[in-house]
Amino acid sequence: MSEPPADEHPLTDASRKAAERRIRNRALTIGISVTPFGLSFGAVSVEAHLSVVQVCLLSLVLFSGASQFALVSIIGAGGSYFSAVGTALLLGVRNGLYAARINALLRPSGWRRFVMAEVTIDESTAMALSEAPSGNAARAFWSTALSVYVLWNVSTVIGALVGNALGSPATTGLDVAGPAAFVALLAPRLTTLRMRMVALASGLIALVTVPVVPVGAPILIGGLTAVALLLVFDR
């Protein structure tokens, strides 16, 4: 891009400021929108007998809502650690795909890659991609990443401390906090009839295997079998 003529500076300056303001506001809104999820994650985690330190570590290092929630839900239900970690990992695979897109878009180098990788999640990726045409992808990525990272961690700690003070999951209804959160996460992905069928198949397969396989395993079995079925039917 060539330098704009001098008399256009006020205009570009104003539009740049407007873009910065728009990105700041959207990043903050997205950050605030993850806090209820963080609160419920913290509360559900301590019900699953994780310590507050362990809950914080997950939010600081793992930093991916669906994976974190899946991990503690399966542990809380008495599932094996293998099923819990396996499910969390498979849910985290999509972040690797996001990372490849962010890498192609922003081309970070050196230590920046490590920081960028850590905060490459649904929200930061979506914001970076949506601001790519305006040339503000990097600003959008970092603003959203910072906002979500800080608010996610703060809300997680609060949720864990509050959860410690609450009663048993069944009497408080906290045993459906996880499923309710998953429904909210799942709904935007059920855009096609195909995806709805696959989701339904996965849920049914998982339930059918509940009485015959170790606790926690039905989730992996249902999830992977349904994906396999999708690939077979698509051929």
Partner: protein, 100 residues
């Protein structure tokens, strides 16, 4: 101890997956089959997670207060209620039905 190990392994490997995207050649992830798997995987896992955490306790299938909570969550998500409303209403419903 084992719980600590699970927390550490899950944290490290999920962080590594993110980093992998910056290192692995993009075309490997962009193949049609890989894309279809990556798109479907969160959907199937979340769905299985929902059905098992609502309709199972250990190795037994069960229909209890959690089903009522799920029904409320489904309705509220369908009418695009905010996240906090969905979770709180689902929990309140399940707690209410449990108390009956």
């Amino acid at each position: 101890m084992k719980l600590w190990l699970a927390v550490l392994i899950a944290s490290a490997s999920c962080a590594a997956l993110k980093l992998a995207g910056f290192v692995v050649p993009a075309r490997l992830l962009e193949s049609a089959v890989a894309r279809r798997i990556l798109e479907a995987l969160p959907v199937t896992l979340l769905s299985a997670l929902i059905s098992v955490s609502v309709f199972a306790t250990g190795n037994h299938l069960m229909l209890d207060s959690r089903a009522a909570g799920l029904a409320v969550a489904l309705i509220l998500v369908a009418i695009r209620a905010p996240f906090l409303v969905v979770v709180v209403a689902a929990c309140a419903t399940a707690a209410g039905v449990h108390a009956l």
